[in-house]
């Protein structure tokens, strides 16, 4: 008996829960502009998120998936990617998408029951929100395969949840990224819960990052509440993927501070104490502590920023609320490049119907 293969999973954190920066932090952590940009984006995201929840509560939005607590992970992914890369989200990565150019009003339209939210202004090649869990991972692998075959220096990045790593599509993405050595980075945003099912019930694996070993990918675990570690790791892994060094599974360890969606009531299954403790580790607080320690942020700036951010969100909300419903015929008009005759008939039926000719 002898050993034929060895593996290990590293964990990266530079900014601790009290806002203390580790000595080995990457160079960009000294750049206040970078940190301020991170913080402002995270902060804006939180304003947007609480507004969206409020809209749902008042009947002005459908079911909405909050990103509360995920801000560091989501924003860092966006900042590490290039425009020409492809982002394949699940359903709560607004933070990534805002960096890339998706508008808040588009997010609202989607959750407001209007397909036009998916026709967003972010990179036109990015995938829309993906409800069937983890299927986006395989589409990202497919995109990465297209890049590789076309010799384009582009990277596909997907996000999946802790629950989503149980889904066969996730494994299939890892397997094909390894088999074809694809420019693919699969980020797991491990927020400890998949609706009511805790991380511990999903798998017997010690870490979720190690699932990448199954496909021969690079694997790494990061403190997903540490925006500096997240940005560093995402930059490194994306760069490696871009330059032919192979794909990575990144596990961002964070916590879902909200209900799963507005249709969920987490109090049914989740200990209040756990949530309380998680608030102590949340990402905005610790980055703000660092910024304040550096003297580049304070309560006044925070208040001013919030005012501005909320005003900006309000503009978006109003734009959303003012959007007229699509014509009924829209359900046919994007089915095919050219409408086949059977659908043409059905469309005409609807046109007649809407015109009041019920015969």
């Amino acid at each position: 008996m002898h050993t034929v293969a060895r593996f290990h999973i590293d964990y990266v954190r530079y900014l601790d829960e009290d806002g203390q920066l580790a000595a080995d932090a990457p160079a960009f952590a000294a750049d206040n502009a970078v940190l301020l940009d991170l913080y402002r984006r995270m902060n804006f995201l939180r304003c947007f998120d609480s507004k969206a929840v409020a809209l749902q509560r008042t009947g002005k939005l459908g079911t909405y998936a909050s990103c509360l607590g995920h801000e560091a992970a989501h924003v860092a992914i966006g900042l590490a990617m290039r425009q020409e890369d492809v982002f394949c989200p699940m359903y709560r990565e607004y933070g990534t998408q805002f960096v890339r150019g998706v508008k808040p009003r588009e997010v609202l339209m989607y959750w407001g029951g209007d397909e036009r939210g998916n026709d967003f202004s972010g990179p036109r090649h990015d995938l829309p929100w993906c409800v069937p869990i983890a299927t986006q991972c395989l589409h990202a692998a497919g995109a990465a395969l297209a890049f590789k075959l076309r010799h384009e220096p582009r990277v596909a990045v997907s996000v999946v949840g802790d629950g989503g790593t149980s889904k066969t599509d996730f494994y299939a993405a890892v397997n094909s990224a390894g088999a074809f050595r694809l420019p693919y980075v699969g980020v797991i945003v491990n927020n400890q819960w998949a609706i009511s099912v805790p991380r511990s019930a999903q798998t017997g694996a010690e870490t979720l990052a190690q699932k990448g070993i199954a496909g021969g990918l690079h694997c790494i675990q990061v403190d997903g509440n540490d925006p500096i570690a997240m940005l560093a790791v995402m930059r490194d892994t994306i760069e490696r993927a871009r330059t032919g060094g192979g794909g990575t599974v990144v596990e961002a360890v964070t916590y879902r501070l909200s209900d799963h969606t507005t249709a969920d009531d987490a109090r049914r299954y989740r200990p209040e104490e756990e949530v309380k403790q998680a608030w102590a580790r949340e990402p905005l607080k610790r980055l703000r502590a660092l910024l304040e320690a550096r003297g580049i942020w304070d309560q006044a700036r925070e208040d001013a920023f919030k005012l501005e951010a909320n005003a900006e969100v309000d503009v978006e909300v109003n734009a959303y609320l003012e959007t007229r419903t699509q014509p009924v015929t829209s359900m046919f008009d994007f089915m095919f490049a050219e409408l086949p005759h059977d659908l043409r008939e059905q469309r005409e039926e609807v046109v007649r119907w809407e015109a009041g000719h019920h015969g």
Binding site: A194, S196, V197, R268, M331
Partner: protein, 326 residues
């Protein structure tokens, strides 16, 4: 005896059969402590514990494959697909194994499982949460497919499904999960899995439907009655096997048939019913068969979904078209 909703009847049937038969277990995503995202398994975990009510990892292939494996070894799993739109990854195990193991092994092994899934639109849910895939399963040899339309029928049909020694796909019309309550005695009485229900007698036209659209169809019949048109309303209930005899008898009397379902029209179950009419009731029909269905598009997001779903008005208009023939 309390009045209960359709979803409570589902819970009641599972609880009844779990008490009676220790081999019955429930598995799926969030079915445990959370009691299911719709609360269909509410209380079961508290009552029966973690060895009878299992939260699975988040993978529909896993749920289907585990259920099939357990069923081959003599358990009676009730597996849940959290929504209709997540059932497709389950199809391989259902089609290739659940539906065939008895035949494949000439009776040596079989697959006594139930696959439950909420189905249908109209609750303003997100994408993939509003689908009606019953036709896909009805085409598969070796499956039974059931969709109840009232609390009492949900209770009796689900009991029958759990007790049936072969696989049953059990769709629950989520739009009417809590639509109304009725008395459903918890007496363990199952309903047959091959008989449809005549919900309203009539002699001018036969309306065949199932699931949530029983509501709109009965409403249409009511409005038609006000105009002196007498519509017979049949709840198909068991989508496979189809109790065509009852439909044939009705059409013999009425000479007209309008089929209502929310799934896409092409190759839906309406097609099968219309086909059997064309085969067996040609000379009883005085008017062409009509299908009032979802269009051949994915059900739109919720701002437009009611424009997709068959409405009372569309049903009445179809009936009117058949009435033009004498």
């Amino acid at each position: 005896m309390a009045e209960i909703t359709l979803i409570e009847a589902v819970t009641q049937a599972m609880a009844y059969e779990m008490r009676r038969d220790p081999s019955v277990i429930v598995l799926g995503e969030d079915v445990g402590v959370n009691g299911g995202v719709f609360r269909a398994t509410a209380g079961l975990h508290a009552q029966f514990g973690s060895e009878r009510v299992l939260d699975t990892p988040l993978d529909e292939t896993t749920i289907a494959g585990l259920a099939v494996g357990m069923a081959f070894q003599g358990m009676k799993p009730i597996a849940e697909s959290q929504f209709d739109g997540f059932i497709y990854p389950m199809m391989d195990h259902i089609i290739c194994h659940a539906a065939r193991m008895r035949s494949r092994t000439r009776g040596r092994l079989h697959c006594p499982m139930v696959l439950r899934a909420p189905c249908g639109g109209g609750i303003r849910a997100p994408e993939h949460h509003s689908e009606a895939p019953e036709a896909l399963f009805a085409h598969i040899p070796g499956l039974r497919v059931v969709i109840p339309s009232s609390p009492a029928r949900a209770y009796g049909l689900l009991l029958a499904a759990i007790r049936d020694p072969d696989p049953v796909i059990f769709f629950e019309p989520k739009r009417i999960y809590r639509q109304y309550k009725e008395e459903v005695p918890d007496d363990g009485e199952a309903l047959p899995l091959d008989v449809c229900f005549v919900l309203r007698d009539g002699h001018d036209v036969t309306l065949v439907t199932w699931g949530a659209h029983v509501k709109e169809t009965l409403e249409a019949a009511e409005q038609l009655a006000e105009r002196g048109v007498s519509a017979e309303v049949i709840d198909l209930a068991t989508i496979k096997p189809i109790d065509f005899d009852t439909i044939r008898e009705s059409v013999k009397k009425t000479g007209r048939c309008v089929i209502v379902h929310e799934a896409a029209r092409t190759a839906g179950i309406g097609a099968e019913i219309a086909a059997q009419l064309a085969e067996k009731s040609m000379f009883d029909l005085v008017a062409p068969v009509e299908r009032v269905t979802g269009y051949d598009v994915p059900i739109p997001l919720f701002r437009l979904e009611m424009k997709y779903l068959p409405s009372v008005e569309r049903i009445i208009a179809a009936v009117d078209r058949t009435l033009a023939y004498r």
